[in-house]
């Protein structure tokens, strides 16, 4: 046995070491050289999950139930598999909106509701106090084991060492958890100390495990071989123990419960989310943390069985095997080290938990009440940061004392593990509102209220109340018979559901009520604008790249905002805040406009200090706000996405403009070409007319025959001129859409025949044979017959021009293609060279070279094509150089191309 002085001295010496580490961590943070900015220390700080419950309770559980200590650690393993998604999203949301506690997180998600924050805080405090009591109980029990039963039982509370431990821890939490109001509410010194504590408890546990396994026994197989020899122990490591079959439901429930707890316990939220330095660390911490859990659990079974073998079953409390085994073997220093390990598990949990809970109590209980009392409303007031810190300090002390009180009153009633599980089940009630809120936009405040209240009520009735009853505070008959003898309402067998153990039973009913109410009420009523906007901000937190929408409309005065920020952040930080904003906006601070973005910024910073709900109230008190409707929310969201869209649209528009400009340029160029071509074509006949006229003017005695010839040329050149001008006008009219069209029902067969007859003189002159290939009859076509005649004449005269003088042949065919009529004019002339085929329909692009080609304006084909286009048809050229050319066009019977009329029954069937 060890003297109390030694044990207490070691414990307080260890606390001093913690103070030193935390002080160093804070100093380094102040210098900007963070010690905790690495993934391994981050993962170690997550080890705060392992409390006295792990350290002492696991062995106890293993000694009585075999594998049942394990699900509590397998759950976190499964949760960590998803940490990179879930925890990172929580960190991103908390970081972006300055969220510093789980109550804040939930309240902020559902429209910054102060009442919801208070509710979450209430559940947390009620759920966590027994857990804190459990830790104090462990310290006390360990102390008694070390100092031996000879120590007189403590009767007077002022002689109880546990009280002083609690007070010392409160001092630590106050010193490093509330030293200053930090921008991000991070406590680097505290986290450094926690990481160190995690390392200490791991090393201590493994040291004892190794001592038992290889010091007291001959390895793990030796322990097991001896255990198997004892009949009452041999079945311990089987699922089906003795009579009862394995309770898979409870196993599953414990896995899920711990999976949720590792994310939702206030201390886990604190170290994982609030204290996260860099969200990239999550990637490594996610597998280092389960590895930590694995290592700390490896020796649980050897110590448990080693203790049972050493002392004999039922002789010694298994929960303190880790102390009593070394002690009984004379390894006093190892026992003391093991005690320090357990002490570190206790202190780590207590420090982080109380800091986390005190933040909630201060921000979500005390501050809203003070604000409601109007003490700090719109009235002028001084710097409130000191008051805030003092509230938190008081809250830390109060929470610890509450735990101590619970421990003194009810701590003896239950085993460690049972108390811990009650707390786990309490925080699991946050899961639907918190996780649902992160991934489901439809969750509303009413749903969150309903779920939390319903779940909490069922938890209290089915788990908390029976535990109180078992402590003997209310008649235990109530558990079995139900209230007023209503067995249907028996707390551990609700509605007669007796197949589940009490924990699974409570978890099932409470989560069922919770989820049903959350989903049901969320679906029943549509959310308010503020809820909807917060839902968007939370669910889509990864989608916004820098341009997040600010859901706020109203007016505020810059001076009010500055005064407000000064009171909650302190003058220095407030000044820094406005300086930074001014720098970003690019105007000096006095000229800043109190726009939505600045108001939002101030609100967020204040939220970091007093919580989102209180910050909302404070901003409301100094600004004239316009209530937002759902439409406003959508509009603001629209604007934000538009801003992002604008950049893209601008780029696209620039591209389009550039393309349009190019097109305009080329059109302009074409126009110039056209003008020069036209003037060129006009000049040639003009020149010859003028030359001949001048000749006749100069020579009055010109012979009559000569004069006659000249006059003939002049007349024909003038005709050519007017034809050209007419064609240019014609083309311009068609292109601009001003041409007149006199549509009628056209018989294309007759029209083609007439056109060939009209040009027969032309062909006869050149000794050209024309072959007609026409069907008996074709359907009537709706078109302008004069224009079509113009097209036919143009094609026929073109053919006449290019066929050879002797032996020229032209074939004209008309085909009924069902939905359209096709006309082709084929000649056996030289054909069109490949290079010119593409341009032959362009203006003034006459075939052949200028010297040998027959006369023409070069406008005939372009006009023809325009006409055919006008009637919805196409005109094209088929030609192989040297084998003649074939100009053809096709006109649809119904220009809009729609089939289904009954006037032409042969459209598709014939094809």
């Amino acid at each position: 046995m060890m003297t109390p002085g030694m044990v207490l001295g070691a414990a307080f010496g260890y606390l001093l070491l913690l103070f030193t580490i935390a002080w160093y961590g804070d100093r380094r943070a102040a210098q900007g050289r963070s010690v905790i900015d690495n993934a391994t220390l981050y993962a170690l700080s997550w080890g705060v999950y392992c409390t006295a419950w792990t350290y002492f309770g696991s062995v106890g559980r293993a000694a009585s139930g075999g594998m049942w200590f394990l699900p509590i650690y397998l759950g976190p393993m499964l949760a960590m598999l998803l940490a990179w998604m879930v925890v990172r999203k929580m960190v991103r949301i908390a970081r972006t909106y300055r969220i510093t506690s789980i109550a804040d997180f939930i309240a902020s998600r559902y429209g910054k509701s102060p009442l919801l924050a208070a509710l979450v805080t209430l559940i947390t405090v009620v759920g966590i106090v027994p857990y804190i009591a459990l830790q104090l109980k462990a310290v006390s029990a360990g102390y008694q084991v070390l100092t031996g039963p000879s120590a007189a039982p403590v009767t007077a509370w002022w002689k109880d060492g546990t009280l002083y431990v609690a007070l010392a821890l409160a001092a630590f939490a106050v010193a490093f958890g509330t030293r200053h109001l930090d921008l991000a509410e991070r406590h680097e010194g505290m986290v450094a100390a926690i990481a160190f504590e995690s390392a200490v408890k791991l090393v201590a546990f493994i040291a004892v495990g190794a001592f038992v396994t290889w010091g007291l026994f001959d390895g793990m197989d030796d322990i097991w071989a001896r255990t198997e020899a004892i009949p009452e122990l041999r079945t311990l490591l089987r699922l089906d123990q003795s009579a009862a079959s394995f309770d898979y439901a409870q196993w599953f429930a414990l896995t899920i419960l711990s999976m949720l707890s590792v994310l939702l316990l206030p201390r886990q939220f604190q170290v994982m989310v609030v204290e996260c330095v860099n969200e990239r660390h999550i990637r490594r911490a996610a597998w280092l943390f389960p590895l930590y859990l694995l290592l700390i659990n490896i020796f649980v079974l050897p110590i448990a069985f080693g203790g049972l073998l050493h002392f004999g079953p039922g002789q010694e409390n298994p929960e303190t095997f880790i102390l009593s085994l070394p002690l009984a073997s004379g390894a006093h220093w190892l026992a003391l080290f093991a005690y320090i390990g357990g002490f570190s598990a206790v202190t780590g949990m207590l420090i982080v938990e109380t800091v986390a809970v005190s933040t909630m109590v201060c921000n979500d209980f005390v501050m809203p009440s003070l604000l409601r009392l109007g003490r700090f409303g719109s009235r002028e007031g001084g710097d409130l940061t000191r008051l805030l810190l003092n509230i938190r300090r008081t809250a830390i002390l109060a929470v610890l004392m509450l735990g101590y009180f619970y421990f003194r009153v009810a701590g003896e009633a239950y085993a460690l593990v049972s108390i811990g599980l009650i707390s786990f089940a309490a925080v699991a009630q946050f899961a639907p509102a918190l996780l649902g809120g992160m991934y489901w936009r439809g969750g509303t405040r009413a749903g969150a209220y309903g779920g939390l209240i319903g779940g909490f009520a069922v938890w209290a009735y089915t788990l908390m109340l029976p535990s109180v009853a078992k402590s003997g505070w209310i008649p235990a008959g109530f558990i079995d018979d139900g209230p007023f003898g209503l067995t249907l309402l028996a707390p551990e067998r609700l509605f007669g559901l007796a197949q589940l153990d009490y924990l699974t039973h409570s978890l099932f009913w409470s989560l069922l009520a919770n989820v049903s109410l959350y989903v049901g009420l969320s679906l029943a009523r549509s959310p308010s604008a503020r809820e909807a906007s917060q839902a968007l901000l939370f669910v889509d937190v990864f989608r916004r790249g820098g341009t997040e929408p600010v859901f706020w409309r109203g007016r505020a005065r810059l001076d009010d905002l500055r005064a407000l920020a000064g009171r909650f952040l302190g003058p220095v930080r407030a000044q820094a805040l406005f300086d930074e904003h001014a720098r970003e906006v690019g105007v000096p601070v006095p000229d800043l406009v109190a726009d939505a973005r600045l108001v939002d910024r101030v609100e967020r910073q204040i939220a970091g200090a007093v919580g989102t709900a209180s910050a909302r109230v404070m901003i409301e008190s100094v600004a004239q706000e316009e209530p937002l409707s759902i439409d406003d929310v959508l509009e603001i969201l629209d604007e934000a996405s538009q801003l992002r869209g604008y950049a893209r649209a601008l780029e696209e528009a620039t591209g389009e403009l550039r393309a349009a400009n190019e097109q305009l340029k080329s059109l302009d160029h074409l126009k110039d070409d056209f003008m020069s071509s036209v003037t060129h074509e006009l000049r040639t006949p003009l020149t010859s007319i003028r030359a001949l006229s001048e000749l006749m003017l100069d020579d009055p005695e010109m012979e009559a025959a000569q004069r006659q010839e000249f006059l003939g040329i002049i007349v024909s050149e003038s005709e050519r001129l007017s034809r050209l001008v007419n064609q240019v006008l014609d083309l311009a009219k068609i292109e601009s859409g001003h041409a007149e069209w006199h549509n009628a029902d056209v018989d294309l067969r007759a029209l083609v025949t007439d056109a060939v007859r009209a040009t027969s003189e032309l062909f006869r002159e050149g000794d050209v044979s024309v072959a007609l290939d026409l069907p008996e009859a074709v359907p009537l076509l709706r078109a302008d017959p004069d224009r079509l005649t113009q097209v036919m004449l143009n094609l026929l005269s073109n053919a006449a021009k290019f066929v050879p003088r002797a032996g020229g042949r032209v074939a004209v065919t008309l085909r009924d293609e069902g939905e359209s009529l096709a006309v082709s004019v084929r000649d056996n002339g030289p054909g069109v060279p490949l290079a010119e085929q593409a341009t032959v329909f362009e203006k003034f692009r006459q075939g052949g070279d200028a010297l040998t080609r027959p006369p023409g304006t070069g406008l005939g084909l372009p006009i023809s094509r325009q006409i055919v286009d006008h009637f919805g048809g196409t005109m094209w050229l088929e030609s192989e150089p040297g084998k003649g050319a074939c100009f053809a066009f096709r006109l649809p019977l119904r220009p809009d191309g729609k089939a289904g009329g009954n006037d032409n029954g042969h459209e598709s069937a014939d094809r």
């Binding site: 690495n38 499964l78 990179w84 860099n278 990637r283």
Partner: protein, 87 residues
């Protein structure tokens, strides 16, 4: 930004589902045999092995995979992440 895509969410969800299945009924019952491995009872050995396997898989998915697969477009992000993570 692209660096944050790793490890891929689908892989993580699949691992989590696998873990949930491996550590619960009925697969758990497979290990409930009176046999021993190196003199140790089968059930705890199996559970700890599955547990270690999941950790290993998560570590591989988070670290090794990220470094190797960081080729297209991730070049800038991957080295950063690695350096930051170093203790």
């Amino acid at each position: 930004m692209r660096g944050e895509r790793r490890p891929r969410p689908q892989v993580l969800v699949a691992l989590c589902a696998a873990g949930l299945a491996l550590l619960n009924f009925p697969l758990l019952a497979i290990w409930d045999q009176p046999a021993t491995v190196f003199g140790l009872p089968l059930l705890p050995v199996a559970l700890f092995t599955i547990w270690a396997g999941l950790i290993l898989a998560l570590a591989l998915v988070s670290e090794g995979d990220a470094a190797e697969r960081g080729a297209p477009g991730d070049g800038t992000d991957a080295p950063d992440g690695q350096e930051d993570d170093r203790p």
